[in-house]
């Protein structure tokens, strides 16, 4: 610690160089933290899926509905213990920027199959008996200040669900979850009775997706195949997969994106490493005389090397901490940006985790160490007489 003033004063003297290096480092760490947070959020949703739930959908496209009678046929298959329709409604609340997931389900079966959706008993009873009723997640209720009994309207952008007027709903329940037991549960969604949608559209709509609960997760592959084979010769062939695989399909693009973003992050980190190494080299070269003086005074080569490395590590630490602060601010701030914020809020656990922040600091320190190593080694090897002769 007694050498700290020497290190700090050097950094302060070249404040412009120090600031630009710290900023460069912070951009690198900021980028790392944001990318990792997004990737973690996507992966978190992926792992939240249950292995006992199969998702059945149209083979060609999610945009195509399955015939309504498929539900009975699938429910009758051996090994299927329960089913519920889960159809993406695509409803807009007042303005597209107010986006939130809203899905038509069969309430009773839905609550059985999705135990992570937790409702107080009286709210559950109210929802089951109210066709116009809806349940909203705790976070969604907080977002719009909704409470039990409030009404609101949604108008879908999906053509079959557009009936000339908005659908009106009553909030019958505000669901929550046990986050320890069911991590990744989306508390920003809304569910309503499929019957309401079915009747309002003149019984014209089919099934968006159907969730089938099976008795044995180890048979998921065989069951999926069996379901698809059942409709192999029909007009609407099905594609069945586990809920995790279904979600993985959604995030496959994100997976590729993660690869791309990680690549970009690596390139940025490498560039920052070169910039910082160059900065440190210049700093050490400018101080050849000082290094010689320190050694003349009795500072060992190891100590001089340690001082240079400490300086580089301190630059890394400052850059890392600043990068984390910026990342935290940006991640929080983006959720308030119109539309983008709504999309981001769709990720239930979006936020800079302590693990990612710690990793960010670790990378910043590693970058600092790598950047400072060669200059520190040069300082270590510098001969006093050679350096003094250059004065």
């Amino acid at each position: 610690m007694k050498f700290a003033p020497l290190i700090l004063k050097h950094l302060r003297k070249n404040w412009l160089r120090t600031t630009s290096t710290v900023l460069a480092m912070s951009v690198c760490i900021f980028l790392f933290c944001v990318l990792q947070t997004v990737i973690a959020a996507v992966n978190f949703g992926l792992h939240a899926g249950s292995t006992r739930r199969l998702v059945v959908r149209d083979y060609v496209s999610l945009a195509n509905n399955l015939p309504i009678n498929y539900k009975q046929k699938i429910a009758a298959l051996p090994g299927v213990t329960d089913t519920t329709i889960v159809s993406w409604f695509g409803g807009i609340y007042r303005d597209p920027k107010n986006f939130f997931p809203n899905l038509a389900v069969e309430p009773e079966a839905f609550l059985r199959i999705y135990p992570e959706i937790m409702l107080p008993e009286e709210q559950k009873e109210r929802w089951l008996s109210d066709v116009r009723g809806a349940i909203v997640g705790r976070k969604l209720a907080q977002r719009f200040g909704w409470k039990i009994g409030d009404t609101f309207e949604l108008e879908s952008f999906i053509p079959p669900y557009r009936v000339g007027k908005p659908f009106d709903f009553v909030i019958d329940g505000i669901y929550d979850t046990d986050e320890a037991k069911y991590p990744g549960t989306d508390l920003g969604a809304m569910y309503f009775n499929f019957k309401y949608l079915y009747e309002a559209t003149g019984r014209q709509v089919g099934i968006g997706t159907l969730t089938a609960q099976i008795d044995d997760p180890s048979h998921a592959g065989a069951m999926s195949k069996e379901i698809d084979q059942a409709f192999e010769n029909s007009d609407n062939q099905t594609k069945t997969e586990t809920e995790q695989a279904f979600r993985a399909g959604f995030v496959a693009l994100a997976g590729n994106l993660a690869l791309l973003l990680n690549g970009i992050g690596m390139a940025v980190a490498f560039t920052i490493l070169l910039v910082t190494a160059n900065t440190m080299s210049i700093a050490v070269r400018e101080r050849q005389q000082e290094i010689a003086v320190l050694k003349t005074l009795g500072f060992s080569s190891g100590l001089v090397m340690g001082l240079i490395l400490s300086e580089a590590l301190l630059l890394g630490l400052m850059g890392g901490l600043l990068g984390i602060l910026i990342a935290r601010g940006i991640i929080t701030g983006l959720t308030y940006v119109p539309f983008l914020g709504d999309v981001l809020r769709g990720f239930p656990n979006l936020g800079l985790s302590p693990e990612i922040a710690a990793l960010g600091v670790g990378i910043a320190l590693l970058l600092g160490l790598l950047a400072g190593f060669i200059p520190a080694l040069l300082a270590y090897r510098a001969r006093i007489t050679d350096a003094l002769r250059q004065v």
């Binding site: 302060r12 003086v293 050694k295 005074l297 009795g298 007489t385």
Partner: protein, 232 residues
């Protein structure tokens, strides 16, 4: 036997048959050629000679910042020849004070912090270090400039801070390489006065390289080097 006692018996500095050869690309340059020099304890010696005669090289060997190709160098009772780099660094921190021609103060540190630098290698507390540094500055007459940075001091004042830094660890030997070479005559006189004071009142052994006959005249003895050998 203490280092000072050994030094008093054998001389503060004893250079025996020293050869120093520099390798410059494929050429070998012999800078010191079998040089022998004895500097008694409490001596103030001036080393003179033309450029390239080996004065600074000899000074560097005495200060323990360079190594002889052959021969032996004893300073303050220690044979420097077998010491490792680390041991030499440790030895320098407490046995020798170096005064440079261009002061070589650390620009980002204040006067008192510059003087305190060698003490960072000691086990002294922060308070003790600061007290000793201030005392050294008081001795060179710059107590009122302790918080000034090198850029805020004149050349003469910078050199006085450098001298305070050289004496703060109370070394037995001071080596000075052209200490007045970058100063006006008045400042040079002040610096030489100071060095004489350290020699007379504190018993410091001083070896000073200089081109200036007036500076050399302040020393007890003058030795001349030419082409790596002492000529008188």
């Amino acid at each position: 036997m203490s280092a000072t006692a050994v030094a008093a018996k054998t001389g503060a500095v004893s250079v025996q048959n020293v050869v120093k050869i520099y390798q410059r690309d494929s050429q070998q340059i012999k800078v010191l050629d079998g040089l022998t020099l004895e500097v008694p304890q409490g001596e103030f010696m001036a080393l003179m000679g033309p450029s390239g005669s080996g004065k600074t090289t000899l000074l560097n060997l005495i200060a323990g910042i360079d190594r002889a190709t052959s021969g032996s160098v004893h300073v303050a009772g220690t044979d420097l020849t077998p010491l490792s780099e680390g041991e030499l660094a440790k030895w320098r921190s407490s046995n020798v004070g170096f005064i440079f021609q261009f002061y070589n103060l650390i620009p980002v540190l204040s006067a008192v912090e510059n003087v305190e630098l060698p003490l960072l290698l000691s086990h002294l507390s922060k308070k003790e270090r600061r007290e000793r540094a201030l005392t050294a500055l008081r001795i060179v007459g710059l107590a009122d400039r302790s918080k000034h940075y090198p850029r805020q001091l004149s050349g003469g004042q910078e050199q006085r801070v450098a001298i305070a830094r050289a004496i703060v660890t109370d070394p037995a030997v001071l080596v000075a390489d052209e200490p007045t070479g970058d100063l006006d005559s008045k400042s040079a006189e002040e610096i030489l006065d100071l060095m004489q004071t350290f020699n007379r009142e504190f018993g410091k052994t001083i070896v000073m390289v200089t081109h200036d006959p007036r500076a050399a005249s302040r020393a007890h003895t003058q030795r001349h080097l030419d082409k790596g050998v002492l000529t008188e």
